[in-house]
Amino acid sequence: MESKDYLKDISEIKNMMHKSSRFISLSGLSGILAGIYALVGAIIAHRIILDINAIEHPIKGFFAAFDAISTLFGIAVLVVLLSIVTGIFLTVRKAKKNNARVWDGSSKRLVINFLIPIITGGLFCLVLIDQQLFGLIAPATLIFYGLGCINASKYTLGDIRYLGLINVVLGLISTQFVGYGLYFWAFGFGIMHIIYGTVMYFKYDTDRK
């Protein structure tokens, strides 16, 4: 009996526990792209808002703002959809490369646990809109998105936990700066995703062939 074999046993045990309980094919690149989409979306939204504020005529301004809401909403939906599609595409590609299955117990658990805070947050935001508390929408989205990441971190590579924590903190800070939601969004969803994606990419996607 050699101790080397036992060492191998232990690392095999760890590996199996990890592989069977966590979904490890999440692509880092998709995080970077999601961040870029969010930044581009935020810049376009910023332009639109600046244009409206430039209108001096009060009634014209009011109607322009009214029209802009659906455009801004459209931009937000487009950013989210593009991010999801890119994420799925790149993750499927990474899983295929690693000969892992995409839709198995571990990925299902990941999606479900990520979605619990996200859907709660989505419904909460609808309530905020209904109560006309528009200033709290940006903080709420950041906080619930952060909670989603933290909840998901138990079912995938653990690093996403830090992205979640940062977004929760950002969301809480932004409650004190109502009206600057767009900047917090751009930072939380844009810049933080790019940083997170880059870290993930270099940590897991490059050296693990």
């Binding site: 046993d9 232990i10 095999e12 199996m16 198995d104």
Partner: protein, 97 residues
């Protein structure tokens, strides 16, 4: 008492360790999942799960999902404690040498 005492003969195999590891961190796993994770043949996996079942370290539940038979496994309390003891013994052995 030597530390070898806690090295459990039932676990002294790569595939059995694998089965136990998966079941320790998951509530349960079915035959197909175990087979894919451990990359073993049906017969091989069946004989090792049988051994663990005989030792009463794992529970086997057979059920039907639709019309397909499905066998799923989970650890027993005994299996969990024995596996923990086994790992501790392994760690001690490694630290000794």
């Amino acid at each position: 008492m030597s530390i070898i005492d806690n090295i459990n003969k039932v676990f002294d195999h790569r595939i059995r360790l694998g089965i136990m590891s998966v079941l320790m961190v998951n509530e349960y796993a079915d035959f197909k999942t175990l087979k894919e994770l451990l990359d073993v043949t049906d017969g091989n996996l069946a004989s090792h799960t049988k051994a663990l079942e005989t030792a009463e370290y794992i529970k086997v539940e057979k059920q039907f999902i639709g019309r397909k038979p499905n066998t799923r496994y989970s650890t027993t309390k005994l299996g969990e404690t024995e596996f923990k003891k086994h790992i501790e013994a392994l760690e001690k052995l490694i630290n000794k040498t």
